[in-house]
Every structure is written in structure tokens, then in C-alpha cells.
């Protein structure tokens, strides 16, 4: 029996959730499993090599930068590495993967002070870097059409246009194909189905707020239906086409929802999602680029602090401020 022992004295609360940064990041990796599996099924073993190389590069670069021996650590580098791979073509040159993944960690995250301090989504910073540096390797018209379950074929030998890059060919892909993912595109962007499964897992675990994906996807759908002339058969189908083609699904569910670079207030998150959708569609419909998800999210990342400042929630029992 202990009676005279000195106890630990600290401020309440005295119990804490078992959730940690590492467990949150591991949940994100679990959420990315369906789409990673789909990438391998659709694009073959090269997808696996791309993802593995990107993840390993990200973890090694971060460990070297922080001079830590623990490669996995809080798991955030692995998440960045995998997300970066998922927005690459199926089989880019190995040096592009390494350079982009290292850029994501260093320029996207560590120069700002590391986890929690980065302004932009690191994976998208990596993508932006390789996009402006080696556009040819990233351009839509050399992306490979998927060869489902075709292990062993050299996918980089076959080329095909993405639905967004060549609107004239968009009709070659049905909405069902776009939903399942059997269309040309980045490794992880084509299968809305796989992305949704992981997204639902993140919602269930409470790691993402529905307001960002709903605001993002909803805006893309509405603007696609209203302003793109119904080029994909009907107006409604055109709205759906814009949601399913390209990077909207992966962007809305996994990139825009990145905790560090999105607002913390509920209203702010809705505004953020809508803003992402708006800029995406401005670029897609009226811009010179075929796709706008990357820049839309990066631009919105930049205004996140301003959004937070203007959307401070009204406290319980607080009075509405008169303007």
C-alpha cells in the first residue's frame, strides 16, 4: 500500500484520447489503400514501383532533413509520398518521381518549419514543381490508357489522351468508366469508386469534414452543368463528367481536406471547398490548361489564414455582430 507517494500534478483534463498524429496519418494511408490497389490493377506493376519509390523517397528525405532515425515517425511523410505518386502518370521516369517527392517534403513542408507549419499541400507542391519543370512527362496526351489486370505490359509504350485534355475524345469514355476508373489519367485520380470508399472511411474516422468535399464537388458539378455548354451529351451529364474526370475526386477528398493547409472553422471549410471548385472550373472552362485542381487547391491554401480570420464561429450564446 502506498500512502506517502508524491503524485503527478498537472492541469485537467487528466485523460486523453488514444488518437495521435501518427494514428491519424495511418488512417489516411488506410484510406488510400483502395485507390492504390486500383492503381496497380489498372496500370500494372509500374504503378507499384512509382508509389513505392515516391513513398520511400519522401520518408528518407524527411528523416535526413530532421536527422531522425525513425523513417515512419508520425507517418506524414509517407502520406505525402503516396499522395504525390497518386497524382503522377503511371510510369514517369524514376528521377522525376524522386525529384518531385523530395520537393514535396523540402519545399512543400520542411522549409516552412515542418509538419503543421506548411502553408501549401506538400504533395501538390511536388506536383506543381514537376508540372512546370517537365510538362512533357506530365501532359495528358502521353498518359497511358489503363490495361486492367495487364501485369507485365509496358504501359508507357501505349498512349492515349485523358478525357479532359481532348474534349473531342471525352465521349469515348462513359460515366460508368469514369466512375470505375478504366480511363487514362493519373495513377490515383481515375477511380472515383476507390476514392469514395477511402473518403467514407476518413469521414467515419472524423478526419475530414464533409464541408470541403461537398463544397468542392458540388461547385464543380453545378458549374459544369451550367457553364460548359452541355458538351458531354446533356447539361447534367456534363456536370457529372466534370466531377468524375480528372483530379476533382482525389483533390476534393484527399488534397483539399489536408488538415494543415485547410481552414479550421466549419464555415471556413465550406467556403474553402466552394473556392476550390470555383477556381478548378474557371481554369477548366475558361483557362488555357485542361485541368485546374492542383492550382485551385494551392491558391485556396494561400488564403486559408484569411478565411479562418473571417469565419470565427459565434460562441455559444453569443450575439450576432451587427455589420
Amino acid at each position: 500500500m502506498v500512502m506517502d507517494k508524491k503524485m503527478i500534478v498537472s492541469s485537467s483534463p487528466h485523460i486523453r484520447t488514444i488518437e495521435s498524429v501518427q494514428s491519424v496519418m495511418t488512417d489516411v494511408l488506410i484510406a488510400l489503400f483502395p485507390v492504390s490497389l486500383m492503381a496497380v490493377l489498372l496500370f500494372g506493376y509500374q504503378a507499384l514501383i512509382t508509389m513505392a519509390l515516391s513513398v520511400v523517397t519522401a520518408m528518407v528525405v524527411e528523416a535526413l532533413w530532421l536527422r531522425k532515425r525513425d523513417l515512419y515517425s508520425d507517418g506524414s511523410a509517407a502520406v505525402t509520398g503516396l499522395l504525390f505518386a497518386l497524382v503522377l502518370p503511371p510510369a514517369p521516369p524514376w528521377w522525376l518521381i524522386v525529384f518531385g517527392s523530395a520537393s514535396a517534403i523540402i519545399i512543400g513542408k520542411q522549409v516552412f518549419g515542418g509538419i503543421g507549419y506548411n502553408i501549401f499541400n506538400p504533395a501538390l507542391v511536388g506536383r506543381a514543381v514537376v508540372l512546370v519543370s517537365w510538362g512533357g512527362h506530365m501532359a495528358g496526351n502521353i498518359w497511358s490508357p489503363p490495361q486492367p489486370f495487364a501485369f507485365g505490359t509496358d504501359v508507357s509504350a501505349v498512349t492515349g489522351a485523358t478525357a479532359l485534355a481532348e474534349p473531342s475524345e471525352a465521349m469515348n469514355y462513359s460515366l460508368t468508366q469514369l466512375f470505375i476508373g478504366t480511363v487514362p489519367g493519373s495513377l490515383g485520380e481515375t477511380s472515383a469508386l476507390a476514392l469514395l470508399i477511402g473518403g467514407l472511411w476518413l469521414l467515419y474516422r472524423g478526419h475530414i469534414d464533409w464541408r470541403i468535399p461537398v463544397g468542392f464537388i458540388g461547385t464543380v458539378f453545378v458549374m459544369g452543368a451550367l457553364f460548359d455548354g452541355g458538351f458531354y451529351s446533356t447539361h447534367l451529364a456534363t456536370g457529372l463528367f466534370h466531377v468524375l474526370a480528372g483530379g476533382v475526386m482525389i483533390g476534393a477528398l484527399y488534397m483539399a481536406t489536408d488538415m494543415v493547409s485547410s481552414p479550421v472553422t466549419p464555415r471556413g471549410r465550406l467556403i474553402f471547398g466552394i473556392g476550390c471548385g470555383l477556381i478548378t472550373m474557371l481554369i477548366r472552362i475558361w483557362g488555357v490548361l485542361p485541368e485546374g485542381v492542383t492550382y485551385a487547391i494551392l491558391l485556396m491554401n494561400a488564403v486559408t489564414p484569411i478565411i479562418d480570420n473571417f469565419t470565427v464561429p459565434r460562441q455559444f450564446g453569443g450575439v450576432k455582430k451587427s455589420a
Binding site: M1, V2, M3, D4, K5, K6, M7, I8, V9, S10, S11, S12, P13, H14, I15, R16, T17, E19, S20, V21, S23, V24, D74, S76, G113, G114, I115, G116, Y117, G206, H207, D209, M259, V260, S261, S262, P263, V264, T265, P266, R269, D308, V312, P313, R314, Q315, F316, G317, G318, V319
Partner: protein, 454 residues
Amino acid sequence: MSHAIKQGKGEQSQMSSTIFKGGVHPEYHKELTAEMAVNEMKLPETVVIPLQQHIGAPCEPLESIEVGSEVKKGQKIAESSGFVSAPIHASVSGKVTAIGPYNHPLGRPVEAITIESDGQDKWDENIKAPESNDNLSPEDLRKLVREAGIVGLGGATFPAHVKLSPPEGKKIDIVVINGAECEPYLTADYRVMLEQAEKIVFGLKIMIKALGAEKGVIGIEDNKAEAIKLMEEAVAEEDSLSVEKLHTKYPQGAEKMLIQVTTGRVVPAGGLPLEVGVVNHNVGTAIAITDAVREGKPLIERVVTVTGAGINNPANLLLRVGTLVSEVVEHCGGLKENTQKLIIGGPMMGLAQPSTDVPVIKGTSGILALTDQDVHLAESSPCIRCAKCVDACPVQLMPTSIAQAAEHDKFDKAEKLHAQDCFECGCCAYVCPSKIPLTQWIRIAKAEIAKAKK
């Protein structure tokens, strides 16, 4: 009139939902003591009775009380002339052996009267039941409650008679009784609802009478099915009383959340429940009021849950005010070797104690011993802006932003973010995956803001 309109609006917009925004679902661990009937602990050998056991002016020892004085159980030993205060009574019969500072659950020593029990446990002769309590006026009732030294037993220890004395012109129509007991581990309120339902209902009726109110609502979380059933039976004959089954979510028993879900009214920020016509008391307070009005008994004992993995024999005990925690712990088989924290109250809002050498006071609802299995002393890492604290805050603050402002000494910014509206429930720090002591930072911000106001 404008007040009544505002109130009506609140009712409309909130009535549909009986769930408050935010909150968390910690592990409850109530099974450790839920089935244990309340037992009276053996008479303590000494009691140390602090002179500050309530919010408000501290008490002074009565002139007749000095070292060596003989006192009887229930005899008043200290009081204050302040209105917001509550007198203090001897909880055993015996001899005063010391008057001076002693450890207090709040963390700093407070003046206290130490009484060595004579083992007789004799009541003061002046304490007797009023001949009839039917004809007592609201003023008589308030006086009885005040004289009995009753404070809020949920832990806030606000003098009960003050809450029964609404200012001129304020109409109170609903009395809400808090049987939520949302703090994990604690089962004291649950047990008294099972064992003394009739006294709770009587106490509630006294409050309604003293306030001239119309309705009484008893709010109980739905993880206490047995208590809901018994309390419903106890109010079955009363048209003006009802039991409200509440969603189990911490901090359901917090005043503002409880009032919102039971009445649909929103207490204004920085305001008191009486501003929306509501007064709210704990079930334990209702029982203390019953004992005072029916039997003339002052508040000298209370039910305390002694629990946690660090306690060898968890129990619900009826303890005399002033009983030393060391004696209680010994009575419960002592602490296990791996005990790391000793907490007065619950794990979310309770106060960590450096040792067991501290007395039980009127506001002590629990004595909780946490082991190395429960206490996580992880170092904090940078905020990843996951906003789980923003979503968990029951008053819709931005804990991470307030904490950041406090960390950088930007207390004006913390004030703009309404740091003062935080009631320190601990939800933000509980959910934080980066293990940032958010509640502690907000406390610092609140203290600095209050200092700047002076």
C-alpha cells in the same frame, strides 16, 4: 418584454434538437462503482474543515471557536457576512485542535479548523426538524438553505441560497435538476438517484416553491437507464415535474448545455441561467436541501465516488466534510503501486493533488486514482490544424487559435476569440492528437485577460 421575445426565439430554434454541439465521448469506466450502494465510512478520527468551500467570500471562525473548544456535530463553526457565501458546520463532535492553513483541493493552503472526534458523534441540540414545512415562505426556505451551508454539490460549489434568490424583476419559471453526471468514472449522482429519488423530488419542489417557478425538469444521460426509470416513477404523480432522457455525451452536465437540451433555451455568453428564466441545481444539492428543510440538518456530509484503477477497493461512500483523503483511501484498501495521479473530482475537470493529505470538502464529488495505464504524459507536437478541438468545443470556440495566441502573449487576440467564454471542460485537450495542453493555455489566457481588466 424584449427579453421574453428573445427567449422565445431561442426556444424555437433549439427545440428540435436535444443534442448540443461539440463534446466528446471518453471511456466512462462507471462500471467500477455503478453497482455499489452508498455506504457510510467509519467515523473519521480527525476532520480538517477548510473555511473556503464555496465560491464567494471565505468564512471566519465564530468567536466562540478557538483551539480547545468542544463542538457538536452540526454546530456552526464559521461564517461570513457576505451574501455570496455559505456557513460551515462541524461534521463530527469533538475538540478543536488547530486553526490554521491546511492543504486544500484547489492547490494552495487555506485556513481550516481541525477537529479531533470524541467518537460520540453527538448532534448539536439546536438542530431539530421544523414542526411543519408546509407553511414556510420562500424567504424562510432561503434562510433555511443558507443556514444549512448548502452549496452546489456538482463541484462548482456556488452557494445554493443565492441561486434561489432571483434579482427583482427576474421571473424564473423552470428549475432544471442535473442528474447527467457526464464526468467519466463518477457514480455518486447515479447512486443517489437510485437510492434517494424521493428526496430529490422533494428538494426540487422546495426549489420551485422558493423561486415561484412553474416547472421542474430532471435531466439524466441515457446511459443511466435505471436512474431514469426510478426518477420517472418518482415524478409520475407530479404534473409539473418531468424527467428528460439526455444523449450521453461529455459535457452534457455543464450548466449551459444541460439547459439548452432540457429547455431549449440558450444562456447568453457571459450570462447566467436566470437570464433565460432557468435555475439549475445538482441532484445532490436537492437532497441536501431536503435534509435541511425536513430535518434542519446542515450540510456536513456528502456522497463521494472513490474510484479508478489505482484504488484497491472502489466504492461510493457517504463522507463527512473534512475527512482526509488519506483516511478514505486507506478505508478503500489503499492505492496501487502504479498510481500516478490522484484527482479530486472527475478526470475531465478534476484537480490533481500532490498527495492524499487533503480534506474532502462540500464540492468533492470523486476521489480518483489514475495509474500509469491511464495517464499519458506524451510530449506535445506542433498543431496539425485538424480542427478536432474546434469541432469538440461545446461553446464553439477555436481552442487551437486561442492557445496559439496565449503562447505568443497575444492576449488581446485571445480575448477577441472569446477565451473568457471557455468553462474549461477539457474537451479540446482531450481530443488533440498532437497532445497540446489546450485547456491549460486557455486558462492562462483567461487569467491574463482578467488581470488586464483590473
